[in-house]
């Protein structure tokens, strides 16, 4: 089953890349997609039995505007700090640990990358359930994980504990 999914995804990607729709190039595309789905179909979809992937993708797309806003805020924050003459008084970097309740890899990676992209925080590592985060100041450190984990838990439909 996952071969089929990978093949369809890859062929769609090929059509976007190629932009040539004559028979010869389409045949090459089919061959290439088959090759890739033979070589690495176990990478994209790990358990092919899982349902509701499309809904997750759709919710992820809806998540993008919010994260874009966060990136903008975060860069403004860093910009303000970087150009501030007394920058060293403004920042108080520290390392924070917190536990997450997200289970799946996809959700955790989304959370980690979102944390990296939001103001004043970078994910350093994930060990077991514990996220290690470097924060620029106490204020942002106390706000973790906060609203973001809620949102991501809703995307990946993980029930609350």
């Amino acid at each position: 089953m996952r071969y089929l999914y990978t093949f369809l995804l890859m062929f769609g990607f090929w059509l976007l890349l190629s932009g040539k729709f004559d028979l010869f190039h389409l045949t090459l595309g089919v061959i290439s997609s088959l090759l890739v789905s033979w070589m690495s179909s176990d990478l994209l979809f790990i358990d092919s039995s899982k349902k509701g992937r499309l809904i997750e993708v759709w919710r992820l797309i809806l998540y993008i505007p919010w994260i874009l806003k966060e990136i903008l805020l975060s860069t403004l924050h860093v910009t303000w700090l970087a150009l501030h003459p007394a920058m060293k008084e403004k920042i108080a970097p520290r390392i924070v640990n917190f536990k997450t309740r997200l289970q799946s890899d996809a959700a955790r990676v989304t959370l980690a990358n979102s944390i990296t992209l939001t103001p004043g925080t970078i994910t350093v590592r994930i060990e077991g359930d514990v996220f290690t985060v470097h924060a620029l100041s106490d204020k942002v450190a106390s706000g973790l994980p906060g609203e973001m984990e809620e949102r991501i838990a809703r995307i990946f439909t993980e029930e609350r504990p």
């Binding site: 890859m10 990607f13 890349l17 190039h25 890739v36 994209l44 990676v109 590592r125």
Partner: protein, 341 residues
């Protein structure tokens, strides 16, 4: 050529070049050299040499930097300070290299201007390529047709050189005899096992299939856009290297083990030479593809050349992909295939 950007990039490149030599920390030098390659590729694109830029991006900026890291990983990171020579010799060396540089600089004034239509290089052969390629081979990208058809002999031996390089790495690193009993057969841990750095692994998993498809696209569309067998092969090999880096070597070796890899590498060269011999068997010159229209269905002489070029590109891609992988796997594990980066 856009001279404003040109000057800026050149300045950056010279700075990078000087410091890539003078940095004493070898890992740091590798990083600076990577930046140098990135900028070099930018310079090629900016001068309009798109295919060269693609090769530089794939080989120089991508794979060779990774190979440097692998080599530093297996050897030492420090430069041995060597106290050598008298001061006189150092001065002599400086004077000699300064003179040589001066002579080269003086000679560079004799070069024709950039893209000068009256220069010897572009007054004899180039007009033929530029005006006739499309009618003779029906391939819009002139560089591809020059490399794979007009100068096909050259490219065939380049592929052979790549194969030889891979074999040389194998021979040198295995001098003490094969340290493992044949190719690794044990499975690596399952993909979904929770690792410590699950972020990198997850992103790798998502990225690698797209990378492989992109590489295949580059190979298949060498006729129409920059790229071709060599660049696509390197990107394919790089995707396996990425797997080997972020998981472990066994992950990559489970997909293509050493035996299969070397078989594929030789098959690549064989495809290239085989197409050449096929032409001979049909009664034409070696690598004269136009004769192939007799056995390829539904083609005339021009289309046969185009299709044969695609076959040749696939051969090149196979060899290059596998050799890049073999070189990385051997350098990073010192020839034992046990632990990667």
């Amino acid at each position: 050529m856009i001279w404003q950007i040109d000057i800026m990039i050149l300045t950056l490149i010279v700075i990078c070049g000087v410091f890539a030599i003078s940095v004493k920390d070898l890992l740091g030098a590798a990083v600076v050299f990577g930046a140098y390659s990135f900028l070099m590729c930018l310079l090629w694109t900016e001068m309009g040499a798109v295919d060269v830029a693609f090769t530089e991006a794939a080989v120089g900026a991508g794979v060779s930097t990774v190979l440097f890291f692998a080599a530093v990983h297996r050897s030492s990171r420090q430069v041995k300070a060597r106290v050598s020579g008298r001061l006189l010799y150092k001065w002599l060396g400086l004077v000699a290299s300064g003179l040589m540089g001066g002579v080269l600089f003086y000679a560079s004034t004799d070069f024709p201007d950039w893209a000068d239509p009256a220069s010897p290089a572009s007054s004899h052969l180039s007009p033929h390529f530029i005006t006739q390629t499309l009618t003779e081979t029906s391939v819009p990208n002139i560089v591809t047709s020059v490399l794979a058809d007009y100068r096909g002999f050259d490219t065939m031996f380049e592929t052979a050189v790549v194969l030889t390089a891979g074999l040389a790495v194998l021979i040198i690193l295995r001098l003490g005899g094969c340290r493992t009993a044949g190719p690794v057969r044990e499975k690596s841990a399952a993909i979904q096992t929770a690792y410590k750095d699950s972020i990198i692994r997850f992103v790798t998993r998502m990225v690698v299939p797209f990378m492989q498809l992109f590489a295949l696209y580059v190979i298949a569309h060498g006729h129409h856009s920059p790229g071709g067998g060599f660049q696509g092969g390197v990107i394919l090999g790089a995707s396996f290297i990425l797997l080997a880096i972020s998981y472990d070597l066994k992950m990559a070796l489970n997909r293509i083990n050493e035996k299969a890899a070397l078989l594929l590498a030789n098959t690549g060269v064989l495809i290239y030479a085989g197409i050449g011999f096929l032409c001979m068997l049909l009664g034409a010159n070696f690598l004269d593809y136009s004769i192939l229209h007799r056995i390829l269905p539904a083609t005339d002489e021009i289309a046969a050349r185009s299709h044969a070029m695609l076959g040749v590109e696939i051969g090149v891609a196979l060899t290059v992909m596998v050799i890049v992988m073999v070189i990385y796997n051997n350098i990073v594990s010192n020839g034992t295939y046990e632990k990667g980066l």
